[in-house]
């Protein structure tokens, strides 16, 4: 028997209509832990560099993490991996909710989907019974509607469903996979699901999930719960309200949006409105939010309440989390009421809350610039809100201009031409980013934006404060109970970091310190993504309950595989390196490791070069960002080096 994990994956070939239950190699658990780690290994072994996103040979993997479904609070993430149609690199998007634990209760760690079905189908996993079922009656339905329809037809309200909406069916490059209160949105994985003819995956499980050392495991879980309570009573002072506690930024609970609305950019990530937040706006938005928010809700086995049920009068009820309440609002220069209303439609259609509003604002900017004309938008309303609704409908159906915008701003700009390229100014590796434009280069963020394999800042940042507190005394106070640091030196880096002067951005933290800080932050994300732990209780917030000191104990007690801090750290290094290798094999190089040109006004090319050089060195990559033979050997991944040599990747740069 295996502990923590189940030890079986489900292999589904939609071309042949075959379903197999296959056992997995426990040695892979030691090497990659699970979740994203083992997904990356499968992608490396089975999806060659030439395979395109919309090829039947592309895999779509729904994975639980190693700890998912155990009693560890917050261990509920589903890690979905595939080749992205937009970046053409490996996409891994994740969602919370209830899907991954249910999958493990049904007796599987992963669902590995290959091939393509000619007819629209859905997958029904009910413990040992697994069926590919006709979904023609679900065609065109919204993601939430689909989930409800499946629960109704299978007569079980406890079934967990991951579904795509119209955007996924029509292969919009930023289509999401929606699952109740959660969604896996980044990288266009919903488009791959649609391309495979897979409308939904429904799962119900009633089996046990076992752990190897029960008493120890429960002691660890209880400690985590106690610390969560402690942090609820001890918010971190001096940071914006949404960042003071644990969980995702508490967008559903908190109405104070001064930080987002005045620091983040509006429209096509253009305009900062430093004076936007007024008392009247605050009152109005508070009323809006409290009127539509029915209840704050949680994911599986997590005491945080990061999501909410949203019922806008006259619209169907839906569930929301985090920042999407503001992305449409700000892209359209509108207000929160509009944000909640359009998000209902966007959730049903299943589109990414970052990319979709950005693509719409980009389209309207091209119209304003005269690159597109009103003839490109037949029948479009005059008002901005009306225009956003109009564009959403066009995009998810790939009609007219919508077909261009459905590819995201990078590809749309190149298809449109006529100088549209310079309006695609907020992408990294062809992927839309948070709307944020700042003044002074921050060396730590420079590295994270440039090198993050997830291509999304929220999935690499965390742990280390975004800014130094104003005085040394405050910083000293902050580090007093900061036991999460992997090494005491991080406390010094923070205490010495000043808002202005010699010891401030961009030259402090130093190049070496910046690389170490990034290494710590991204390692924690990689560990979370392998274990299926929510970043909101671990790698994202300041002073989280899970950290590098208790994770090895969790892994050991759950699986019975003895791992210490170095082992877990090395496993995360291995997965991080394998992710890089996968993308290098697909053509990614140093030139791609860069933030949007206008992300900071003040740039420092020499310093940026030093930062990237040092980061690569620390990671065991060569100057092109390619993992070296030596580092691959050290990580027991000679198979990667061999393929790089065979393909001449080391020679051609």
């Amino acid at each position: 028997m295996r502990y923590g994990e189940i030890g079986f994956d489900l292999e589904v070939d939609l071309s042949r209509g075959s379903i197999d239950r296959v056992d997995t190699d426990p040695n892979d658990t030691r090497l990659y832990l699970g979740g994203l780690g083992t997904n990356a290994k499968i992608m490396w072994d089975r999806v060659p560099a030439e395979t395109e996103a919309f090829s039947p040979d592309n895999l779509l993997i729904f994975s639980s993490g190693l700890l998912c479904g155990t009693a560890a609070p917050g261990s509920n993430r589903t890690i979905v991996s595939t080749i992205s149609p937009q970046t053409k690199l490996m996409a891994y998007s994740m969602m919370g909710g209830f899907f991954a634990p249910e999958l493990k209760y049904a007796g599987y760690d992963k669902i590995i989907i290959s091939g393509k079905s000619e007819e629209l189908v859905y997958l029904w996993i009910n413990n040992d019974k697994v069926e590919i079922r006709d979904a023609s009656h679900l065609k065109g339905l919204g993601a939430t509607e689909t989930s409800e329809a499946i629960r109704k037809e299978l007569k079980d309200p406890d079934i967990q469903v991951a579904a795509i909406g119209l955007a996924g069916e029509n292969r919009v490059f930023y289509a999401s996979i929606e699952q109740g209160r959660s969604s896996a949105s980044r990288g266009g994985i919903g488009a791959v699901m649609g391309d495979k003819g897979l409308k939904a995956v429904a799962v119900r499980g009633t089996k046990d999930i076992n752990v190897a050392d029960p008493a120890k495991y429960m002691e660890l879980c209880d400690d985590v719960l106690k610390y969560i309570k402690y942090r609820a009573d001890h918010p971190i002072k001096g940071v914006p309200p949404i960042l003071q506690g644990l969980g995702s930024p508490q967008e559903m609970a908190i109405v104070d949006e001064e930080w987002h609305t005045t620091n983040f950019t509006w429209g096509n990530s253009r305009t900062r409105r430093k004076d936007f937040w007024t008392h009247e706006i605050e009152q109005k938005w508070k009323e809006t939010q409290e009127n539509v928010r029915t209840r704050l809700i949680s994911c599986h086995n997590c005491p945080m309440k990061c999501g909410a049920t949203i019922s806008v009068p006259g619209l169907p009820t839906y569930m929301m989390k985090c920042y999407s309440k503001l992305t449409y609002t700000m892209a359209a220069f509108s207000d929160l009421d509009f944000g909640f209303k359009i998000a209902q439609k966007a959730t049903e259609y299943g589109v990414d809350g970052f990319s979709a509003p950005q693509a719409m604002a980009f389209g309207l900017e091209l119209l304003e610039a005269g690159i597109l004309t009103l003839e490109d938008f037949p029948g479009m309303p005059e008002d901005t809100e009306g225009r956003f609704y109009y564009l959403l409908e066009k995009i998810v159906r790939r009609e007219g201009i919508g077909d261009f915008l459905a590819d995201g701003t990078y590809w749309a700009a190149r298809r449109i031409g006529k100088g549209a390229e310079k309006y695609d100014h907020n992408t990294i590796k062809k992927h839309e980013q948070l709307p944020l434009k700042l003044g002074m280069l921050n060396p730590v963020y420079y590295l994270m934006y440039s090198t993050g394999e997830k291509i999304n800042i929220t999935q690499i940042e965390g742990q280390f404060p975004q800014e130094p507190f104003a005085t040394r005394e405050l910083r000293e106070e902050f580090v007093k109970d900061w036991f999460q640091v992997p090494d005491e030196k991080f406390k010094k880096y923070y205490v010495d970091w000043e808002p202005r002067g010699e010891m401030s951005n961009p030259y402090y933290p130093t190049v070496e310190a910046s690389c170490e800080i990034v290494d710590w932050m991204e390692k924690m994300h990689y560990i979370d993504d392998a274990l299926g732990m929510c970043a909101g209780l671990s790698s994202f917030p300041l002073k989280p309950p899970y950290h590098i000191h208790n994770y090895p104990e969790f892994v050991t007690a759950a699986t019975g595989i003895k791992m210490n801090k170095d082992d877990v750290w090395k496993s995360a290094t291995r997965t991080r390196t394998l992710m890089r290798a996968l993308n290098v094999r697909r053509g990614m190089r140093r030139a791609d490791d860069r933030p949007p040109d206008d992300h900071w006004r003040k740039r420092f090319p020499d310093l940026e070069k030093q930062l990237l050089d040092q980061y690569y060195k620390l990671k065991g990559f060569n100057e092109q960002g390619i993992p070296t033979r030596e580092s691959l050997h050290d990580l027991e991944m000679d198979f990667v080096a061999e393929e790089f040599e065979q393909k001449g990747i080391y020679n051609n740069g």
């Binding site: 479904g69 155990t70 009693a71 609070p73 209830f98 209760y105 939430t144 409800e148 309200p157 406890d158 109740g180 209160r181 499980g205 009633t206 089996k207 046990d208 999930i209 076992n210 752990v211 029960p214 008493a215 495991y217 429960m218 719960l225 969560i228 309570k229 029915t294 209840r295 704050l296 809700i297 949680s298 994911c299 599986h300 086995n301 997590c302 005491p303 309440k305 049920t309 019922s311 169907p316 009820t317 839906y318 569930m319």
Partner: protein, 180 residues
């Protein structure tokens, strides 16, 4: 019959505060696993949440008595505009639903308030409910002295087997299984 004072353990369920995380189901099934905490499985939990997020229904229900026959209750309740089945509120482990039956054996489950020696400060589900939807309440009550011995899990389980297969068949099976 003689009156005695007895501590009655009960749980007040503030359904308005439930956020549907199922931590109660996880910790209940984990606590009752053998060995303790060795596994978890909400399908074995003695508390289950009737959870219909789009209708904003979150209703924690505890497993109560085993019953051999189903009832006639098919009524609907509408509370604050939300429609519930009569069944949703029922604690019984009954033949008309999967709820509160062991998923493999079909044997009934019943909440035991995590009784053990020494006693816990509160049942595990209450401890793990950070939403404070489950509130443990102890009160003293004068009750008539109950001379009946309390049925344990095995008796309740055997009782349901006897109801289903008849005493003789269960005896024969136990006798057969007892042979080396």
């Amino acid at each position: 019959m003689a009156k005695v004072t007895k501590i009655v353990k009960s749980i007040t369920i503030d359904a308005d505060k439930c956020n549907g995380c199922k931590a109660c189901e996880v910790i209940c099934s984990s606590w009752h696993a053998t060995p303790r905490y060795s596994s978890n499985n909400p399908a074995r939990s003695r508390i289950r949440i009737v959870r219909l997020p789009l209708r904003d229904i979150y209703l924690p229900v505890y497993a109560g008595e085993y019953t051999e026959s189903e009832c006639t209750g098919r009524d609907k309740y509408i509370i604050d505009g939300k429609e519930y089945n009569e069944c949703d509120f029922c604690r019984a482990s009954c033949p008309s639903r999967d709820l509160f039956h062991e998923p493999d054996s079909g044997l009934p489950l019943k909440c035991d308030m995590c009784e053990e020696t020494p006693a816990l400060a509160q049942p595990k589900c209450v401890e793990w409910c950070h939403a404070e939807a489950l509130i443990y309440v102890e009160r003293e009550e004068e009750v008539e002295e109950d001379k009946q011995p309390k049925l344990g899990d095995i008796e309740i389980g055997l009782g349901s087997m006897i109801d289903k297969f008849g005493l003789q068949q269960v005896l024969d099976t136990v006798a057969r299984m007892a042979k080396p």
